[in-house]
């Protein structure tokens, strides 16, 4: 962990700020207040960086154009963010990156650094307000994940919620973080470049966040069995879908590889078989045997023991013989002759 930089070093302070970002801990009155005034969809999937950019860019865009009303009318999202800002509110950053219940000095410092860099980019002054986690609030690790941050707001609601979000810099986690918490900061003006990029929270982003998990959880493995099984390296996901003929082919290929001395490749295939059918003692035995041939005696013995536990007595006797060689001579390489004989017995036949 790098030494935290203070905000004083990084961000010049001015008396005025035009974007305010509030941090609030999950489960605190502040968070509830912000949530109450919000009516955005789920934002938890959105990154911290995106949110910051979105707030800053939106504001900059509005400021630069000098026709806030007209512009805001074009886009509901921008309007909502603008209303947030004008109400003295901002965005609740409930992202895991800024999970306020876990904020420590470094996290805050990193966060401030991020804000500093981005605000410099947009030429926007930023004030950060922190609302500390209350002692009574449940720890984030235990708490159910909140459905999200819902920003955007009717100004009157925001005003109504204001008292709950008292800025108490002296209570923030860590003195270093607390000191600059209520300071206004202003980044160097670089307004010229800021017109190039317009970033704001779109419906597309919200929907992407909302559907991401559902799409990621789709199981499409079955569709691609024919494609994956033809590859040299088979994907373990397809194993449950393989036809017995294909499994036999796989087994024969592994045996052939072992005969030819390609232990690593054989091991890969035996591993796939064992992974595909974890309860199959034969596959465990074969995997254990391949490990012995690969010189990985410890692992081999362990796998053979597993095979024995699954009901394969041969595996147990091989494991015991290997271990007896070791106990006689102290190490596996020293058991050459006995081991060689055993390996001769184990070698797969044509």
């Amino acid at each position: 962990m790098s030494a935290p930089a203070t905000r004083d070093e990084r961000i010049p302070v001015s008396g005025e700020e035009n974007v305010v970002i509030t941090l609030a801990a999950e489960g605190t009155p502040a968070e509830k207040a912000i949530r109450r005034v919000g009516r955005f969809g789920k934002l938890k999937e959105l990154s911290l960086g995106f949110l910051i950019d979105q707030v800053l860019a939106t504001h900059e865009e509005l400021r630069a154009r000098g026709k806030e009303e007209q512009y805001a009318a074009e886009d509901e999202t921008i309007r909502q963010v603008e209303r947030l800002r004008s109400a003295g509110w901002c965005v609740l950053l409930n992202d895991s990156a800024v999970d306020a219940t876990r904020l420590d000095r470094l996290t805050i410092t990193d966060f401030v650094r991020e804000i500093s860099d981005r605000s410099a980019k947009y030429g926007v002054a930023v004030r950060i307000r922190e609302v500390p986690a209350e002692e009574t609030s449940p720890p984030a690790a235990v708490a159910e994940p909140q459905p999200a941050i819902e920003a955007a707001v009717a100004a009157e609601s925001a005003v109504a919620a204001e008292p709950e979000t008292t800025v108490r810099p002296e209570d923030t986690v860590g003195a270093e973080a607390a000191a600059p918490a209520s300071r206004a900061v202003e980044a160097p003006a670089a307004a010229e470049e800021t017109h190039q990029k317009k970033e704001y929270l779109s419906k597309h982003d919200l929907l992407t966040g909302e559907y991401r998990q559902a799409v990621d959880e789709l199981n499409l493995n079955g569709l691609f069995v024919g494609n994956l099984s033809s590859e040299e390296r088979m994907d373990p996901r397809v194993f449950p879908f393989l036809h017995q003929k294909e499994v036999s082919k796989l087994l024969m290929r592994a045996n052939r590889l072992l005969q030819d001395g390609s232990c690593d490749k054989a091991l890969e295939l035996y591993g796939l078989l064992a992974e595909g059918e974890p309860e199959n003692a034969d596959y465990r035995l074969l995997q254990g045997r391949a490990l012995l041939f690969a010189g990985e005696y410890e692992k081999g013995v362990a796998v053979l023991r597993e095979a024995e536990a699954l009901g394969e007595p041969t595996a147990g006797s091989i494991a015991r013989r290997i271990q007896s060689f070791k106990s006689l001579t102290g190490s596996y390489p020293a058991t050459t002759e006995g081991l060689r004989n055993l390996m001769g017995e184990l070698r797969p036949r044509e």
Binding site: H204, L207, L242, K245
Partner: protein, 259 residues
């Protein structure tokens, strides 16, 4: 001869439209194409200007009669492709096939015999339009296919249908060991004005590319009134070759020839 099945358990995702238009595009590129309509709804048959039920020999005969000559069911069309039409009676094949030996591979056997025998016309592509179900008729199509194209609408329920198809195709691999491989997923009815479509396309593309590879065709078929209207007239690639949907189909056909 490549046999490409167009399948998706979800109905109304553009299987028939894609199958017919891509068949015509392939034909326009100089490939010899046979379209086998394996959907009892016979939409592809109607799409290609035939009335469902007017033909004596349909795809049902390929499944029901072991010794039926495939050649007899082929109809030459004005669109440059040959068709084996379908009709509602194809549904009955699910019953008649049930006690039969080799019931899952009837279509495959017919196509193989046709390709190996004295064929008056050799086909580069056999395009099989499947029904939105996984019954014996569709299993025959999948068992006959060398490639599978899955049209998908970028909607949540369509993705759930895709997952169901994946599960059933996986089961097919486990039990019948088909030779079919996924050629690609076609995104159909993409509404560029709908944020949801964009989101789902982005997520699906990310997932498939991350887990399996580049299986989503880069060209998407945009939702278009023209495509819908063309169903009763001409296939859109003939009706308006310059339309975005036609262009997309032409690009996908080129991609199919490359894959």
């Amino acid at each position: 001869m490549r046999v490409i099945a167009f399948a998706n358990q979800k109905g109304g995702v553009g299987k028939t439209t894609s199958c017919v238009n891509l068949s015509i595009c392939l034909s326009q590129s100089g490939r010899r194409v046979l379209l086998v309509d394996m959907d009892p709804q016979a939409n592809a048959t109607v799409y290609l200007g035939m009335n469902s039920g007017e033909r004596t020999y349909t795809s049902r005969f390929l499944l029901d009669s072991p010794h039926f000559d495939l050649e007899r069911a082929i109809v030459r069309t004005e669109f440059g492709i040959d068709v084996i039409p379908s009709d509602r009676k194809l549904l009955e094949s699910n019953k008649t096939l049930l006690p039969e030996y080799g019931r899952e591979t009837r279509l495959r056997d017919k196509l193989e015999n046709y390709a190996e025998g004295f064929s008056p016309r050799e086909y580069d592509y056999v395009m099989v339009d499947c029904a939105p179900s996984l019954d014996l008729v569709t299993i025959n199509a999948l068992m006959a296919a060398t490639d599978l194209v899955v049209p998908v609408q970028p909607r949540f329920f369509a993705l759930k249908g895709l997952e169901e198809l994946a599960s059933m195709v996986g089961e097919l691999y486990r039990t019948l060991n088909p030779r079919v491989k996924v050629m690609g997923i076609i995104i159909t009815m993409f509404d560029k004005t709908a944020a949801l479509d964009k989101s789902i396309l982005e997520l699906l593309k990310g997932k498939v590319e991350r887990e399996f590879g580049s299986y989503i065709f880069p060209s998407v078929i945009y939702k278009s009134v023209l495509v819908s209207e063309s169903e009763k007239r001409l296939p859109v690639v003939l009706h308006d070759p310059e339309a975005p949907a036609s262009k997309a189909y032409q690009e996908i056909a080129a991609e199919i020839m490359r894959r």
